[in-house]
C-alpha cells in the first residue's frame, strides 16, 4: 500500500515491505524541500518505523540542506537502535554522496529488495 505527500519540487511516496518502511522522494532534496523531507522521515521513525529504506531512484539532486536532513535522520534512527538503508541511486546522486564524504556514513544498496533485506536485519 502506497501513500504520497509533498509540495513543489518534492513528492514523498511511502510504502511498507516485510516490516520495513520505504520512503521514495521524487524530485529534489534542497533547501526548499529538505524541511518537509526531514520532518516526515523523523515522524515515521518516532512513530515506530525503526527499519527504514530511502529509495533515491527518482531524486534529481540533493544539496547540502538535504544531506543535513539525512544526517539528522541517521542520528535519530541510531537513538532507537534501528537501521537506515539508502538504495537505487543514480550515478550522479552517488557521485554527490562521494564528493560530500557521505558514502561511508550510510549503507547504500543497488536495489530496493537488497535495501529492504539489509534494513530488516537487526
Amino acid at each position: 500500500m502506497e501513500s504520497a505527500a509533498g509540495g513543489k519540487g518534492l513528492e514523498l511516496v511511502e510504502s511498507q515491505s516485510d516490516g520495513v518502511a520505504i520512503v521514495e522522494p521524487r524530485g529534489r532534496i534542497d533547501s526548499m524541500t529538505a524541511g518537509l523531507f526531514g520532518a516526515r522521515v523523523a515522524e515515521l521513525i518516532r512513530s515506530g518505523s525503526h527499519h527504514l529504506v530511502i529509495d533515491f531512484a527518482e531524486v534529481l539532486y540533493i544539496t547540502s540542506a538535504g544531506f543535513r536532513s539525512l544526517l539528522i535522520a541517521g542520528r535519530l534512527i541510531d537513538e532507537f537502535k534501528g537501521k537506515l538503508v539508502l538504495c537505487r541511486m543514480s550515478t550522479e546522486i552517488r557521485r554527490l554522496f562521494e564528493i560530500g564524504g557521505f558514502s561511508d556514513l550510510f549503507e547504500i544498496c543497488a536495489t530496493r529488495d537488497d535495501g529492504v533485506r539489509k534494513a530488516s536485519w537487526p
Binding site: G9, Y61, S64, F67, L71, E92, L96, G100, G101, L105
Partner: protein
Amino acid sequence: MNPANLLYGVSDRPPASVCLMNAAQHVMILAPTLVYPIVILRAGGASDAAVVNGVSLSFVALGIGTSLQSLRHRHIGSGYLLTATPTAAYLPAGIAAVTLGGSAMLFGMTLLAGLFEIMLAQVIRRMRAFFPTEISGLCVLLIGTLLGVLGIRLLLGLDGSGVVRSTALGRDFALGVFALAVMVGLNVWAVGRWRMYCAIIGMSAGYLAAAALGAVDAHSRTTLRLAPIMDLPSSPNSLPSFSIDLVLPFMVGALACCLRGMGDITNCQKVNDRDWVRPDLTSIRNGIVADGVSTIAASFLGTLGSSTYSSSVGMSTAAGVTARVIGFWTGGLLVVLSLFPVVAALMVSIPNPVMGAAILFTGCFVMINGLQIITYRLLDARRTFIVGLALTLGLSRDIFPTFYGGLPHAIQPFVGSSLIIGLLTALALNAVFRIGVRSRVTFMFDPGVDSPDVIRSFLEQQGAKWAARRDVIERAIFGTAQAAESIAENSRLEGPIQIEVSFDEFNLDLKLSYRGDEFLIEDHRPTNEEIRDSDDGIRRLAGFLIQRNADRVRSSRRGDKAVLECHYQH
C-alpha cells in the same frame, strides 16, 4: 583503464600463443577483402598465377601497414591493434587506372593517393571543430551498417542491386547461418579461449562444412591445387605513370580512407578506454599517416591501396583481446604468409556465405560502438538533424543503388558508398549549423522555488547546442543550483544572479555574479556534528561541495559585485 570486457587491453603483452592465434584470426577475416586486389588484377588481364602472386604481394603491403598502425611513434601509428585491408574505396579508380595505363598507372595514382592521405592527416587537428564527437560516432555507425550490409549480401549471394546470384541459395544460406551461429554462440556462452577464438573457429567450421557439402567452387579448388606451397612473390618493375583525369577519383578514395580511419581509430580508443570522453586527434592523425604510408607501400608492390579494417576492431572487441603487440604479430604473419602462395589461394577459396557470416558478426560490435559514441553527448535539434539526415541519406545508398548508379558521372565519386554519402552530408550540415551557435551565453534569474528548474532547463538546452558531455552538464547543474541556494540564504543577496557560461570542446566555465556577500569556499569538510548542529553547517557544506564538484573554483569581488567562478574540464 581497461574496460571489464577485455581479457588483454591495448598495452598488455599476452603470451606468444595468444598473440599468434589472435594474429591468425585477424589474417583470416581479411579474406573477404582480398577480392578487391583480385578484381583489379583480373581487370588488368592477369593470369591465375599472377593473381595469386598479387594477393601474396598484398599480404606484404598489409603486413607493413598493420605493423605501422600499431606503432606509437611521434609521427606515425595510432598505437592500436587495427589491421590494414585492401579497400573498395580505390576500386573504381583502380579499375580505371589499370584499364587506362596498366600496372604503371595503378602504381602512380595509388602513390599519389597515399601522399594525399598523409597531407589530409596533417590538417585534422586544425579542422577539429568540423569533426565533432557525434560525427565520429556516425562514422563508426555507418561503417558498422556497411559491414552488416556487405555481410548479408555475401551470406545470401546477392549482387550490388540485391538480386540473388547464388545458384544454391538454400545451401549457401544454411552454411552462412551455421558459421554465424558458431561465432555468436561461442561469443555469448563460451569463456576463455573458446570465446577468444570464436571467429577463427566459426570460419574454420564453416569452411569444413562447405568442403563437405561441395560448396567450394571448382575454380577456387583448381587455383588452390596449382598454387605452389612456397615461393617468393615477385614485384612489378614498372615506373609510375599518371593521368590528370584520375586525380579526382583517387583523391576522393583517399578522403574516404581518411574518414574511415578516423572512425576506426575513434572506435579503438573507445573500446580500449573505460573513461573515454573524446577522440584523441594525435592518435588519429598518426594513424591516418600510417594508412597513407601503407597505401604507398601497396603502390610500390603493384597492388590496390589500403585502409583501416573496421572488422578487425569488431573482432578484437568480440574476442576481448586488443593488445597492440598483436598488430606486429599480424603484420609479421602476413609477411611470412606471402611466401606461401597456397595460403593466399586457400583464403581466396573461402566461400562467400562463410565470409559474410564473419563480416556480419564483427559488424555488430562496430555498430553498437557507433551508437554509444553518438549518444554520449547531449544532442539539440541541429545535431539531431546532422545525425538523422546523414544516417538516412547514407543508408539510402544501399536501399536505392539503382538511383545512385544513374546519377551523372561527375558526382559518382561522391556517392560511391553509404559511408561517403553519410559523412559528406554530416560534415556539410555541421559546417552550416555552426552558424549562430555562440560559445558564451548569459542569463539572469531570481532565486526562488522555480530556480532549480530554470537552471536545469537553461544548462541542458545550452549543453545540447554545444553537444557537451552529459556528465559534465550534470555537474554544472548541481554546482549552479547549490551555489544559488547558498547565495540566496547566506550572502545577503540583493537582486538577481547573473550566470555566464562559456564552452569549448575542452572547457566549460560558469561565472555567477550578484550583489551580496562574497561566496565562502570551504577547503575542508565540516564534521557531521557541525553540519547537523551548527548555524553555518549547511553553508560550509555547500562551500565544500561546490569546491569538490568543480575542477577549479574561485570566489572574488569585482566592483560592487561578488563573483563565483567554476571551471569544469570537458
